[in-house]
């Protein structure tokens, strides 16, 4: 069953690699939409109805935490699980994120794409399938 994933990140290279890999190596397991900041993400949430959001913290216009606050204020899409993926671990932000309905956290520069996908799967309750990609 195809799951709808919303990637919220301003790092175009990360998005490219991540999306390429998801589409080509995971055989249509995910349908992907992209938002470059919090404002775009709020709009995409309305039209795309994602099953999961992978959220970067540091973005222009509206950053990850601002997006989460706004989502809570509007009480919009609060049922959608959120996985934070940021370049470094910031305990303060994670703990605020958890209060704002975040379900998981990955440090994207440390994690392989496979392990990010494993995290996503576990959040969506999907049993992790073996893919062609070896774990390195």
């Amino acid at each position: 069953m195809t799951k709808r994933l919303l990637i919220v990140d301003d790092d175009k290279i990360f998005i490219k690699i991540f999306r390429d890999t998801l589409i080509k190596d995971y055989n249509g397991k995910y349908e992907v939409a992209v938002a470059n900041n919090g404002i775009e993400a709020l709009a995409k949430m309305e039209e795309f109805h994602p099953d999961l959001i992978v959220l970067d913290l540091k973005m222009p216009e509206m950053d990850g935490l601002e997006f989460l606050r706004e989502r809570k204020r509007r009480d919009q899409g609060m049922h959608i699980p959120v996985l934070i993926s940021s370049n470094f671990f910031d305990a303060e932000k994670v703990s605020e994120g958890l209060d704002l309905g975040v379900n998981g956290y990955v440090v994207k520069s440390d994690y392989s794409i496979k392990s990010i996908v494993d995290h996503m799967d576990s959040l969506l309750g999907i049993k992790t399938e073996d893919t062609k990609e070896p774990d390195i």
Binding site: I17, F88, S112
Partner: protein, 582 residues
């Protein structure tokens, strides 16, 4: 004849004897007087010495008089000694009885003193204003006494009458001028020492006051009952009490709001005689270190007793900010480095797979990403190194006679490949009057120009134009007009810009592009303060580039003694420029 001679001789002898006798007598008398005088002098000296020892450095007028009057019985016979002193509120009348007298005697002394003091102070004294204290021998009413003799000595301190000292006796004609003189001298000496002390204390107080007033640290002083004695201007400023008159304890407590419980800290400090230090108290958006310390008295009267409390505020906002800044900057750099590193790692992961090797286009794309990411990191690390060198002043130039035209043309060729990829036209326009030999560090200037060009190529849209310009500036001329004369198109407008004031003879180098231009707001930020702080600011405002490149340009040009700047017209383009002095 003999008789006459004899008689004359006898008379003569008698006269001589009489003269001798008189002389002898007057000698003796004088010697006696001299001796008495000497003795009195010695006595006076002894008394004065004794007194001055007892008075010491005491500043309490009442105490000094007590000492003086206490030693009176040693050399002057009297029934009572009394003084009337001008106090803060009203007068105090103290009488010490050497012998028992009745109430009337005391009353009479008091009345006489009152009248005299009224004359001295030119002021009426109300009976209710006088606080009376009687000590010494007991008062016996059955034994009526009258004042037989008495004399007053005014107490003068710092040229002001502060009271009156009176010696009285029931016997008449008791006091000779000599006695009065001694007492006068004693009192004068005592007054003098008090005056000196008072002046000393006043100067010290003034000095101390001036120091406290001008302190950058806030200082508040209270007494034991938390009455506010002093709040210096700095403390008023920090607490927002500049316009508040008569700052009392209540207003003080309120001004701290909930940030600092001054009341309990004062209580604790006074109760346990303890210095309390509180780090990081936030008041009116500033951080303070606050010290509450008890103030102890050191004079004999209030030995080691806590007189009150002093509260000192030290502004640590700057330290806090720089601490925060360092943290922010480090995390920014970590973030900037982790981005490309993470990318390279991910590409490594993807390229490990089979699929990518078959997909030639993606493979090439990924190789380019690895190249770009590592270049980006390298640039960042180099920039950081340069910035640190510039900031610590270890930025050494190796200047030598070089030709700016060659450098400009070299850079244009270097960047033309990159520009061609974006279909950007990149040209140079060096005026003929630009001297071919100027002294500067060619490598550094090349680096500065590279940084400007790399930015321009990055931010100029495809099919745009970038022009590298150079022309000569003569001191006193207007740079904008000179640019116009040389046919240079750029976006610098000569506002009332202090940067353009008094620029010496130099070569002006500009990089003008037909990009989107920079908003006024961002322009102002761009070259104001090119250091880590500014980079952080820019980054926080959502701009992706760390801006280290521009910081390095500024550092290089500053090291050469030149000026650097930017101007722009939104929608049309921007000009970055720098000067190299000739």
């Amino acid at each position: 004849m003999e008789n006459i001679f004899f008689t004359i001789s006898v008379i003569f002898l008698i006269i001589i004897s009489v003269v001798l006798f008189w002389r002898e007598r007057s000698f003796r008398k004088r010697a006696r007087n001299y001796e008495a005088n000497m003795r009195r002098k010695m006595y006076e000296l002894a008394v004065l010495k004794d007194l001055s020892k007892k008075i010491g450095s005491s500043f309490d007028v009442e105490r000094i008089i007590d000492v003086v009057t206490g030693s009176l019985h040693q050399f002057i016979e009297h029934t009572s000694v009394s003084y009337m002193l001008l106090e803060k509120e009203g007068f105090s009348f103290k009488i010490y009885l050497e012998k028992s007298v009745d109430k009337n005697f005391i009353h009479e002394v008091r009345e006489r003193m009152k009248t005299s003091l009224e004359t001295l102070l030119v002021k009426e004294i109300n009976d209710q204003e006088i606080e009376e204290r009687v000590s010494g021998a007991i008062v016996i009413d059955e034994k009526p006494n009258k004042i037989g003799s008495f004399f007053n000595i005014p107490l003068v301190i710092d040229e002001k009458v502060v009271g009156l000292l009176t010696i009285a006796d029931t016997k008449e004609g008791q006091y000779k001028e000599e006695d009065i003189t001694i007492l006068y001298k004693i009192v004068a000496q005592a007054s003098q020492s008090v005056t000196k002390l008072e002046q000393l204390v006043k100067t010290e107080q003034l000095k101390l006051g001036a120091i406290v007033e001008s302190l950058i640290d806030g200082v508040i002083m209270t007494d034991r009952e938390y009455k506010v004695l002093m709040v210096n201007p700095a403390a008023k400023k920090y607490l927002g009490l500049e316009k508040t008159l008569d700052i009392d304890f209540f207003k003080l407590v309120n001004s701290f709001e909930d940030h600092f419980d001054i009341r309990s800290k004062l209580e604790e400090s006074i109760a346990f005689d303890k210095i309390i230090t509180e780090r990081e108290v936030l008041i009116n958006e500033k951080f303070f270190q606050i010290v509450v310390a008890p103030v102890k008295g050191e004079s004999h009267i209030v030995e080691d007793q806590i007189l009150g409390c002093v509260v000192v505020f030290h502004d640590i906002t700057k330290e806090k900010e720089s601490e925060k800044f360092k943290e922010d900057f480090n995390s920014l750099i970590v973030h900037e480095l982790r981005g490309p590193l993470g990318t390279i790692k991910k590409i490594g992961e993807v390229m490990h797979g089979e699929r990518i090797r078959e997909d030639k286009t993606t493979y090439d794309e990924y190789i380019k990403i690895v190249f770009d990411s590592s270049s980006q990191m390298l640039e960042l690390v180099d920039g950081l190194l340069d910035i640190s060198r510039i900031e610590s002043g270890r930025f050494a130039l190796s200047s030598r006679v070089s030709e700016i035209k060659n450098i400009i043309e070299g850079r244009v060729i270097f960047f033309s490949t990159l520009a061609k990829d974006k279909e950007i036209e990149l040209i140079s326009k060096v005026s003929e009057d630009v001297p071919s030999e100027i002294k500067f560090d060619p490598l550094r200037i090349e680096q500065a120009l590279s940084n400007l060009l790399s930015n321009s190529v990055k931010y100029t849209n495809p099919k745009g134009l970038i022009e590298v310009q150079a022309f000569l500036h003569k001191k006193g001329e207007k740079i904008v007009e000179e640019a116009e004369r040389n046919g240079v198109v750029w976006f610098i407008t000569e506002r009332e810009n202090e940067v353009f004031f008094n620029v010496p003879d130099c070569v002006v180098v500009g990089v003008t592009d037909s990009g989107e231009g920079i908003s006024k707001e961002n322009l102002e930020k761009m070259f104001i303060k090119f250091n880590k702080e500014e980079i952080l600011m820019q980054n926080k405002s959502g701009k992706k580039s760390t801006g280290l490149g521009l910081a390095v340009v500024k550092g290089i040009i500053r090291a050469h003694g030149g000026i650097v700047g930017v101007d722009s017209r939104e929608g049309e383009g921007s000009t970055f420029y720098f000067t190299i002095n000739i």
